[in-house]
Amino acid sequence: MPTPLIQISGLEKAFPTNESWLGQWRFQHGKLKRRKDSVHALNGVNLTINQGETLCVVGETGCGKSTLARVIMGLTQPSAGEIHYLDQRIDQLNNRQRMVFRRRMQMVFQNPYASLNPRMTVYQTLSEPISFHNPQLSTSQVDEQIDALLESVGISASSSDRYPHEFSGGQRQRISLARALSVEPDFIVADEPLSALDVSVQAQVLNLMMDKQEERNLSYLFITHDLAVVEHFATRVAVMYLGRVCELAPTRTLFSAPKHPYTKALLSAIPRLDTNTAQPIRLIGEVPTPINKPVGCVFQARCPYANQRCYEQSPAMMMQGDASSVACHAIEEGRL
């Protein structure tokens, strides 16, 4: 088996809650104590991404999927865990050491209205990374590259002197993709790139991303909450809940035979066009905020099958017969 492109193991990230130094002190049992609270966004995530595949990460608000993207891209430092690119560890690098990997890994953002600098023309936006990473190129070579890049994402090269606000949301997302592609990466993290776009435009951007994957043998980490897109686009799917991966499976397996109770609920809740789908499975309560590091299974509070063991012990990912892996005691014990 070839080395996976990206390997993530035991990744954790806790954000300190935004309290001032004075606010951290409190009275407890007659003593003044300093206590720092933090939100645990990631609680031990293990994932691998293979060359040329699309791994989709799905989950609801607050499950840590965006944090995962930011940690992989080095925008946030992880609290614990390791990230490997091929066989090099990249989570502890400083800016200079990371530079090599910046060319290989790029990111496409959610909001097409905020991800392009409003005061830079499309030409400036694209020429900056190209000439920054290839200082040997002459101006005309850079121009040539930009023209080719723009046309390859379907934007007329003659419009490269325009500012972002002159483009529509879908067009901006194309430019964002062009910027990510400008340094010729082989891995792209896309953080909800479609959620701000209309359906018809979503299809355009998704098609473009698929074309590029074919052309350049790209690997994607695609973060989304839209399961319809996942079903269409993903090679494998990771379902996240409260900072942990609770099910990881090839797309077809996941959609035809979901195993984890959360995955089942999630899939049943998609409003599908056909009218004869079953009633959605109702979950009790809402997603809690992980102020304290969860003990036991992260899904215990909303799980209809939770037993004493689920409250005490965190389930490990277990490989199943059909190439999926699930972290659930109920499945392990054969109760489900």
């Binding site: 359906v199 018809s200 355009q204 098609n207 319809a228 269409h232 809402e286």
Partner: protein
């Protein structure tokens, strides 16, 4: 008599340089207890339509012409005070962002009680018990506790439930829900939709659901209006529209959904994007993106025509129907 009938509604935006048409010749009716959906992409004018029903479009927009009738009362000619009595009491609105309606500095309870006492004269105690009952009705656990909480203490789904409760307080005839679940997660979206559906069914309330998500619409609405660039382009029973869309735009919209294509295949995209108000094309507004556009589409606006499945404004459908009619005549 129809509960609500909108006919030939034109809404304009008054800009510095010129008038921009946001809604053009929009007509539809809503019966008592009926659930309809208005579908379209952003910029199609679906929210403007929702707002103009209760005459809430702010400057620079205004109703240029047309009529909106609630039973036999004309809403466009009412003054602010009469409208105030209609809003909330007979027509209620639910927005995408619950914080638009909830006041962040008042408790949930205070806001609900105030809403009741604004329209009916009852004591605080009675109002409180009605409010708690309604909170219970929308499946909020321990409503007495929630009553004294502030909006920011609740989650997004919970806030939307509070909004629905507040809408129910005055037993309106019509609920206009503008993208009520767009900001919510899928699992919570499903619950809120079910709740909304159950409430409309149980109380005989008519629902106007404004959404961009055809999946959501198919779960809730009996009838669907598809809007494009300020006009209704297709209207008909939801199931028929989804199974057999007539207008090229509706077809494109449905075909662009990922589930319509085999995994891994290219999606069927519609070229281009919705024109802005200022750049409305001539003739049929969809013609620059339409794969079947002819010279006629560029010059003339199509009229509504009943295709046997739904009402469509498209020359293509019209021509096809004419052809069939000719065939029939020849056969005879």
């Amino acid at each position: 008599m129809n509960l609500l009938s909108v006919s030939n509604l034109h809404v304009n935006f008054h800009m510095k340089e010129r008038e921009l048409a946001a809604l053009i010749d929009v007509s539809f009716t809503l019966n008592r207890g009926e659930r309809i959906a208005i579908v379209g992409e952003s910029g199609a004018g679906k929210s403007v339509l929702g707002f103009s029903i209760v005459n809430l479009i702010g400057k620079p927009g205004y109703i240029h012409s047309g009529s909106i009738k609630l039973e036999d009362k004309e809403l466009t000619s009412m003054n602010a005070r009469q409208l105030q009595a209609i809003r909330g009491k007979r027509i209620a609105m639910i927005f995408q962002d619950p914080m638009m309606t909830l006041n962040p500095v008042l408790t949930i309870g205070d806001q609900l009680v105030e809403a009741i006492r604004n329209h009916t004269k009852i004591s605080y105690k009675d109002a409180r018990s009605i409010a708690i009952e309604k909170l219970h009705h929308v499946q909020i656990a321990s409503p007495e506790k929630r009553f004294d909480q502030y909006p920011h203490e609740l989650s997004g789904g919970m806030r939307q439930r509070v909004i629905i409760a507040s809408v129910l307080l005055l037993n309106p005839d019509i609920i206009i829900a503008d993208e009520p679940t767009t900001a919510l997660d899928v699992t919570i979206q499903a619950e809120i939709l079910q709740l909304l559906l159950a409430i409309c069914r149980d109380n005989g309330v008519a629902l106007v659901l404004i959404s961009h998500d055809l999946g959501v619409v198919s779960k809730v609405a009996e009838r669907t209006l598809v809007m494009y660039a300020g006009q209704i382009v297709e209207e008909g029973p939801t199931l028929e529209i989804i199974n057999d869309p007539q207008h090229p735009y509706t077809q494109g919209l449905l075909n662009a959904l990922p589930q319509m294509t085999l995994p891994g295949q290219r999606l069927n995209q519609i070229q281009g994007s919705m024109p802005s108000l200022a750049e409305r094309p001539s003739g049929c507004a969809f013609h620059p993106r339409c794969p079947y556009a002819t010279q006629k589409c560029k010059q003339q606006q199509p009229d509504f025509i009943y295709s046997g499945v739904s009402s469509v404004a498209c020359f293509l459908v019209e021509d096809m129907l004419n052809e069939f009619a000719d065939h029939d005549q020849e056969a005879q």
